[in-house]
């Protein structure tokens, strides 16, 4: 199968990738990550050998962008002092921030598995397919993530 026009990838996958990224990094960073995901994809696109499983390819890129963003955020915990007007009203954060703040601090595999399970509402087989693991491993990542999350939240 040859490569479809890049534009169709945006239309087909941006909404879902965006939800995935909101789960991984929060709504403010998610937009940047999504843009960077598609820019990286566009740069590499003509070099792809075939158009199979473009969604999994985009997810891999998005996961890397999310991980980079989390690394940046933890390196700069006081990012509101970073040139942001402290008087400006805060951007709306529609997510349950307390709990997602903890999700973001989990090991990447557990974080991604939880986002796939609860934000994208996917079955374990599908989560495994997207993360490149078995269904069993996906199930374990979700339950390990939940266990750890429960411990952290209970603190």
């Amino acid at each position: 199968m040859h490569l479809p026009p890049f534009e169709t990838l945006i239309d087909a996958h941006a909404p879902e990738l965006h939800r995935f990224l909101v789960g991984c990094v929060g709504p403010t960073e998610a937009e940047d990550c999504l843009q960077e995901t598609f820019m990286s994809a566009l740069r590499a696109y003509p070099r792809l050998r075939h158009g199979d499983n473009l969604r999994a390819w985009l997810y891999t890129i998005a996961r890397h962008k999310a991980t980079d963003a989390v690394r940046r955020m933890t390196r700069r915990p006081t990012r509101e002092l970073d040139g942001v007007d402290p008087i400006a009203p805060p951007e709306p954060e529609p997510l349950d921030e307390a709990i997602w703040g903890v999700v973001r601090s989990l090991p990447t595999k557990q974080r991604d598995a939880l986002v796939h399970r609860f934000v994208l509402d996917l079955a374990y087989g599908e989560i495994g397919a997207r993360m490149g693991t078995s269904e069993e491993a996906a199930r374990q990542n979700v339950s390990a993530g939940l266990r750890r999350l429960r411990r952290e939240v209970a603190r």
């Binding site: 999504l34 609860f118 934000v119």
Partner: protein, 209 residues
């Protein structure tokens, strides 16, 4: 506790921030153009003949299509034959759209925008290049453009080449008629051919079929 935690996770998913897809597409197109990795840009031009899709590359105008033609099929073809790095970026098509505006307003007799000929090759390409030389307001015949392209007897093949002209209007295949003066055919339909010939003064204004 377990149920509450899972419910909070699920609720968060449902209430996830909204995505402005149009804004994302616009931003990506701009950034891609700035980086030089937007290989095919397209935009819609609202013409008197209906909305035309204008597709351009770094070389020039590669495709101009009439409404009713399958845009997605055409973009697929461009993805395969030119590059899959295709985004809607109307501002990249502004030069073509401005020249079309001037043409339809009667202020332009020849197009200056360069043409990317990659979609046509061989004899068809020769026929279309010969057709591009026919001046505003005059007409030629299938036999003559076939002769110009080097094969006077291949007028049927010339007709096929004109019928698959990827850049109608700009490469004026509407100026090619039958020897006896019959209109022949047209990709966009004969009504559009008549409209263009009236616009150029070849057919009297208000001429019917």
């Amino acid at each position: 506790m377990t149920d509450d935690l899972e419910r909070r996770l699920t609720d968060a998913g449902v209430s996830g921030a909204a995505l402005d897809l149009a804004h994302l597409r616009g931003t990506l197109a701009r950034r891609a153009a700035d980086e030089g990795i937007l290989d095919v840009a397209y935009g819609i031009y609202d013409s008197p003949l209906g909305p035309l899709t204008v597709m351009v590359t770094a070389r020039g105008l590669v495709r101009l299509s009439y409404p009713g033609e399958q845009i997605s099929a055409e973009l697929d073809e461009l993805a395969e034959r030119v590059s899959p790095r295709i985004l809607e970026a109307p501002e990249r098509t502004d030069t073509v759209r401005r020249e079309l505006d001037e043409y339809f307003a009667g202020d332009r007799r020849a197009f200056d925008v360069p043409i990317d000929w990659r979609l046509v090759g061989g004899f068809a390409g020769d026929v279309l290049r010969a057709t591009a030389q026919i001046p505003f307001g005059s007409v030629s015949s299938y036999r003559d453009v076939a002769a110009e392209a080097g094969s006077p007897n291949a007028y049927r093949a010339a007709g096929n080449a004109l019928g698959s002209n990827p850049v109608p209007i700009v490469v004026p295949c509407h100026r090619v008629l039958h020897v006896g003066g019959g209109l022949g055919g047209y990709t966009g339909g004969l009504d559009r051919k008549r409209f263009l010939l009236r616009l150029e003064g070849v057919l009297p204004a208000g001429a019917g079929a």
